[in-house]
């Protein structure tokens, strides 16, 4: 054993952090996001426990959690469908071949939407089946409301995918971690596993500005009483329309900037 060699290797890995802002942020990002999500889940459960009238009250909460977990996966996979498709070509050094082919950027994006939708289809079928088998949780019992709720998650996932892919296109592999980080930045704010009113009052307007919040609130409304969440869906569709316009503008802007700065070629040969 040589202390010199061990310290040289340790220095090599430490230096990685010195020159990489994303790596430094990552040190705090994941633990903070975990703390926020599980902290608010705890607050929600404490509140439920304090107000519970009967032991069966907990069953409703578990149903919310299972539904939320499956719904969250839809949002996450939709975003990943766009971002990971782009990253796959970066990782395999195929990006140049794709972008020198006669494709329009819109075609590229639509292809990633398609892949994302297929990925979601596979995941949702598997999770729904497992949830029913293991926990007797029937997602399909939500009825017709499932479709517009799913569609809204898909739309927001696509918008997030375009934003993260734009960031990677512009700032390169240094910000690659955002492919996984951005959805988890949204998670505590989108009130995935707890209602919006668990969040501090000043955070609630931010939460309401996210389409996903209305989907999760809508889902809880359906699971609690079976009412069709019209108001939440209207909010979600409206916000998603705005998000998609902004995300498409951002993605195109970043694509043009990447071409201007020669970053596509650089990213494609890294």
């Amino acid at each position: 054993m040589s202390w010199t060699r061990i310290s040289a290797l340790a220095l090599r890995y430490t230096l990685l952090y010195k020159r990489s802002v994303p790596r430094m942020i990552e040190l705090f990002f994941w633990p903070t996001m975990d703390l926020l999500v599980w902290g608010y889940v705890t607050l929600y459960l404490q509140r439920l426990y304090a107000t519970a009238q009967s032991p069966s009250a907990g069953m409703g909460t578990i149903t919310f959690l299972l539904g939320a977990m499956i719904f969250w996966d839809i949002l996450y996979r939709a975003q990943q469908g766009v971002t990971l498709s782009f990253l796959e070509d970066v990782w395999t050094r195929n990006l140049l071949n794709v972008f020198v082919a006669p494709i329009r950027i819109e075609e590229f994006i639509l292809a990633t939407y398609l892949v994302g939708t297929v990925r979601i289809g596979v995941t949702v079928v598997a999770l729904t089946g497992l949830a029913w088998l293991l926990y007797q949780f029937n997602l399909l019992a939500m009825g017709f409301a499932l479709i517009p709720l799913f569609v809204n998650l898909l739309l927001m996932g696509w918008a997030m995918g375009m934003i993260t892919t734009g960031l990677i296109m512009r700032w390169g592999q240094a910000v690659e971690a955002l492919a996984w980080g951005v959805p988890f930045l949204v998670q505590p704010l989108a009130a995935v596993f707890y209602p919006v009113d668990v969040l501090p009052r000043w955070v609630q307007p931010i939460s309401h500005a996210l389409p996903a919040t209305h989907v999760f609130e809508g889902m809880r409304q359906v699971l609690a009483g079976g009412h069709f969440p019209t108001a939440h869906l209207l909010w979600a569709f409206g916000l998603n329309a705005a998000y998609l316009v902004v995300a498409a503008w951002w993605f195109r802007r970043m694509y043009e900037r990447a071409r201007e700065k020669g970053l596509l070629a650089k990213l494609g040969t890294q």
């Binding site: 796959e88 395999t92 050094r93 140049l96 082919a101 006669p102 494709i103 201007e260």
Partner: protein, 259 residues
């Protein structure tokens, strides 16, 4: 004289104030192989990236097939293709899957027959079902070239296509490229650091230095103009001339004069 496939006039490209290409003008005629030569940092890769639509230019005009590249990018790229030693095909797909995928991207009709023919020409039919990531450098290069020829391009842009190949395979690749170019009348823009290869393959050479064209002509004309004995000798002299060639000066000691 045949019509130009590529017309580049006063091309300039700056990256955040750094000039990568200062002022480059050249043309490529139908059925011609033009070599872009120059030491590292001369601007050849940037020029190639501009031609491929990967990088936008700061000023100047780039016309391909008589159309402005900025406004007809997709239409132009449909008639081109590209191969580089630095760009790989997806390594997790089989050779045949990769080729079918790119044939689809380029809208190739009857792609199975077309790709089968190309695999035969490059003597790699036996690799059809192999995973691309498991191929040797020589095999990968030939698969890349099959992809580059899948749409019968009128213009082929080749970035060091024989880099990392052994002399035997490199020679085979050069012969096949020459043969296809003769038979189909394809125009090619070719970059390479192998000067003997450039002499053997290129009809004409555009010599770049510090983002400017310093000489243009057949390989022999370039050698004569710089009073060298080979393109390699000219290359080394230009690369070592440092700032002597800045502006349009003449380096009396080396006998270099801008073309």
């Amino acid at each position: 004289m045949s019509e130009p496939v590529v017309e580049v006039q006063h091309l300039r490209k700056e990256f955040d104030g750094t000039v990568a290409v200062a002022d480059v003008s050249f043309c490529v005629r139908r059925g011609e192989i033009v070599g872009l030569l120059g030491p590292n940092g001369a601007g050849k890769t940037t020029t190639l990236q501009v031609l491929l639509g990967l990088t936008t230019h700061t000023s100047g005009t780039v016309r391909m097939f008589g159309k402005e590249l900025r406004s007809h990018r997709v239409e132009i790229l449909q008639r081109c293709n590209f191969s580089s030693a630095y760009a790989a095909l997806p390594t997790n797909l089989r050779v045949w899957e990769n080729l079918r995928l790119f044939a689809r991207l380029y809208g190739v009709r009857d792609s199975a027959a077309k790709l089968g023919f190309l695999l035969e020409v490059f003597e790699i039919k036996h690799l059809k079902d192999k995973v691309t990531g498991h191929l040797s450098a020589g095999e990968s290069t030939r698969v890349n070239l099959c992809k580059a020829l899948c749409n019968d391009p009128e213009l082929l842009l080749l970035d060091e296509p024989t880099a990392s190949l052994d002399p035997d395979i490199a020679d085979k690749v050069r012969r096949i490229l020459r043969q296809i170019q003769r038979e189909k009348g394809i125009s090619m823009v070719y970059t390479s650091h192998n000067m003997r290869e450039v002499e053997a393959v290129c009809d004409r050479v555009v010599f770049l230095h510090k983002g400017m064209v310093i000489a243009e002509g057949t390989p022999q004309q370039i050698i004569d103009r710089f009073r060298g004995s080979s393109l390699e000798e000219v290359f080394i002299t230009v690369a070592r001339s440092g700032d002597v060639l800045d502006g349009s000066g003449t380096d009396a000691s080396s006998g270099i004069s801008p073309g």
